[in-house]
């Protein structure tokens, strides 16, 4: 009896543009979609992950096509047309699904490779699924394995420690300036993809507040909502610079929007608390001379590029190492999964042999009525020991790796030899 197929369906930032991801995101939390999936008869165990960059569902099933159709229909019905869905949704099975999950957990599939936030989100998603009773033996094992793979990658490689992209480099710099970012405030001036990425990363580090300033207030309000932040107008910037610690600027403005003298005047009222400016706009938004002020640090896009370049070779090396860990763990898990296939046969075989032996022992006892209790027990123990020793090679044959014989063949051999597939479930002890 083969185990259920593990299937992973999903969309992420690599396959799907933001407009579609937005529509597919599970905005109402996990409870409702989890409950809805529970009503599908084709699906066994399952869990759901929804973040800014991905929506993924992993489940076990017997009939992949039917389950896929039911799941997609249940989760995304009406959100986007079917053909759009078919174009963007990726599907992985068994080993590929396991590998994908491990890659996600280890943050190798993230937009910002090596970022730590995804593991927390994954754990959160799993907690919801486990609480609602959607996961079982297999998925519990798989998810915990994924967490430990992530941990291994994090401790054995320095993938999380090196700056792997511009925004990551910015965050790393911020940490070198401020240490802990927990009580720090961020001001986004202008809204572009890069700025949002950096902001998202900073939010991942737990910054206290995000303020968004934009030319059109509506866009600012929308963006601010993403980070639970506030929106302000462009003319309020200087007042905000007094309150915030990190400023990410990316407007399309052709002129400078902050000059050295303006920042200098603010520093006095800040009592010289450090300020970190990140200028990712081209042409630049911030006066380069700002960097000359004491306790003020200004990095523009080229500076950040240099930081990234410095880390690149190391990152490549670390990514290879991380991929190796994922491969290794995937193979281990597949072996475990494969061995699960033999479990029913082992259980059946044990039951079958026990039944025969116990039957024979009982028959013998029937003839030796005056046998004292302790002798009786000794005989029972002997019978059990013989059973165990006789069965041992067979069980090892099923459990161990035989490179020349696939497990399926071995299972068939054993089942044939012991007549386990007979109509009556094996010969009756007679």
């Amino acid at each position: 009896m083969p185990h259920d197929t593990i299937v992973l369906l999903g969309v992420n930032h690599k396959t799907t543009p933001l407009e579609i991801r937005e529509k597919l995101a599970l905005s109402s939390g996990y409870e409702e979609p989890l409950r809805a999936l529970g009503q599908l008869e084709a699906v066994g165990e399952y869990y759901l992950l929804s973040t800014c960059n991905r929506v993924e569902v992993l489940f076990t099933c017997q009939d992949v096509e039917r389950a896929r159709a039911q799941v997609l229909d249940q989760l995304f019905a009406g959100a986007v047309p079917d053909e759009v869905l078919d174009r963007h949704v990726y599907q992985h099975r068994d080993e590929a699904a396991v590998e994908h999950l491990f890659l996600v957990a280890a943050s190798l599939d993230s937009m910002i490779v090596g970022e730590a936030q995804i593991l927390g989100q994954l754990k959160e998603a799993y907690r919801h699924a486990a609480k609602s009773g959607c996961t079982g033996f297999l998925l519990n094992k798989l998810m915990h394995k994924a967490f430990s793979v992530a941990k291994r990658v994090r401790t054995e490689t320095r993938i999380g420690a090196s700056a792997v992209s511009i925004s990551y480099a910015a965050v790393e710099l911020a940490r070198k300036i401020f240490g802990d970012l927990k009580d720090k405030r961020v001001l986004l001036i202008g809204a572009g993809e890069m700025a949002e990425l950096a902001a998202e990363h900073l939010v991942g580090q737990g910054v206290a507040e995000v303020v968004v300033a934009n030319r059109t207030l509506e866009r600012a309000v929308n963006l601010a909502r993403c980070y639970d932040g506030r929106a302000v107008g462009l003319e309020e910037i200087l007042g905000q610079v007094q309150r915030v610690d990190i400023i990410i600027s990316s407007t399309g403005s052709p002129d400078l929007i902050l000059r050295k003298e303006e920042v200098r005047s603010v520093m006095r009222e800040r009592r010289n608390r450090p300020l970190f400016f990140i200028d990712i706009a081209v042409p630049r938004d911030l006066d380069p001379a700002i960097n000359d002020l004491a306790n003020v640090y200004l990095y523009d896009i080229d500076d950040l590029h240099n930081v990234v370049e410095m880390n690149r070779t190391e990152r490549d090396r670390e990514a290879v190492k991380a991929q190796r860990i994922v491969d290794e763990e995937r193979m281990k898990f597949s072996r475990w999964l494969e061995n699960m296939e033999s479990t029913p046969t082992i259980v059946q075989l044990r039951g079958h042999i026990d039944r025969i032996v116990l039957g024979e022992v009982a028959k013998t006892f029937g003839r030796l009525e005056e046998l004292p209790e302790e002798r009786r027990q000794a005989l029972e123990r002997m019978a059990a020991a013989i059973t165990g020793k006789m069965l041992y090679p067979t069980l090892q044959y099923l459990k161990n790796d035989h490179h020349c014989l696939p497990l399926e063949d071995r299972i068939n051999t054993v089942r044939t030899l012991f007549l386990l597939d007979d109509n009556h479930g094996g010969p009756e002890a007679s």
């Binding site: 940490r175 070198k176 300036i177 401020f178 800040r270 306790n295």
Partner: protein
């Protein structure tokens, strides 16, 4: 007895400094744990050494040059431990253990003879005044060390050229906190040392203040630190300026300790 304890302590400090240096270069965490263990052992040996010397001499062993410098090294080591107990400052160990070893070497090469206590020094003010002042110096030395680390790290961040220190040194904020902590403990202690010294001088020599070189330089040092602390706590000077001022003020501490004793004469001249 105290001789061997001192040698053992010095050897342990040397080992700890070497291990901290290895950690600084390789960033391997197990090395850091080993280094910290050795450093802790060294401080313990050193502490027992000071106690043993107290028993042998029959008075507080902070009178000869050897004793003073050794006690200074001990204060710096203990200040480091006290700070480390509450905060983590990456690679502070190597920056502290090296000056500790340097001080211990200076102590090792000066005369270790136990001198009889001059009558003017036979007072219970001796342990109070001398130890308070030297512990204050320990904290101020730590502020100076933090200042040096701050300047090294700040230079790399500001110039955007990352070399040896960027990944190895902690964040600027952490180093600034170290400065804040050390000044806010060290400065009151320094003040207390000055006040107790003055009261003792009144008892021993009949006047609170003699204007002898050591006293004068202590006052100069005190004013320097008063300026740093004042600017720091009222105007909000921090970071680079606080770091530079802490380093300059500490140079004044060193001059008070050595420069005055060797270059100028005064009532303190029999004590280091």
């Amino acid at each position: 007895m105290s001789f061997f304890l001192f040698q053992a302590g010095l050897a342990a400090y040397l080992l700890a400094a070497a291990a901290y240096l290895v950690f600084f270069l390789t960033s391997r965490n197990e090395v850091r744990r080993i280094a910290h263990g050795i450093f802790l052992a060294a401080v313990l040996l050193h502490t027992v050494n000071i106690v043993a010397r107290y028993v042998e001499a029959g008075h507080t062993p902070i009178t000869s040059h050897h004793e003073t410098v050794s006690f200074f090294a001990w204060s710096l080591a203990v200040c480091y431990l006290s700070f480390r107990w509450r905060y983590t400052v990456k690679n502070l160990g190597v920056f502290v253990s090296v000056p500790v070893v340097a001080l211990m070497l200076v102590a090792a090469f000066s005369s270790r003879a136990i001198l009889p206590l001059a009558p003017a020094l036979q007072s219970w003010w001796l342990p109070v005044h001398a130890s308070v002042t030297l512990v204050a110096n320990g904290f101020l030395a730590l502020a100076c060390v933090g200042g040096i680390m701050y300047l090294l790290q700040e230079r790399e961040i500001k110039s955007k050229r990352f070399g040896l220190f960027y990944s190895r040194l902690p964040s600027l904020e952490t180093l600034d906190k170290l400065n804040h902590h050390c000044l806010s403990v060290g400065f009151p202690l320094l003040t207390l040392g000055l006040v107790t010294g003055s009261i003792w001088a009144k008892q021993a020599w009949g006047a609170y203040w003699h204007w002898d070189p050591k006293e004068t330089w202590s006052l100069v040092t005190w004013f320097l630190y008063a300026a740093v602390v004042h600017q720091r706590f009222t105007v909000g000077w921090r970071g680079r300026r606080a770091a530079i001022l802490s380093i300059i003020a500490f140079l004044s501490v060193l001059f008070t300790l050595w420069g005055v004793s060797f270059l100028l004469e005064g009532v303190h001249s029999y004590a280091a």
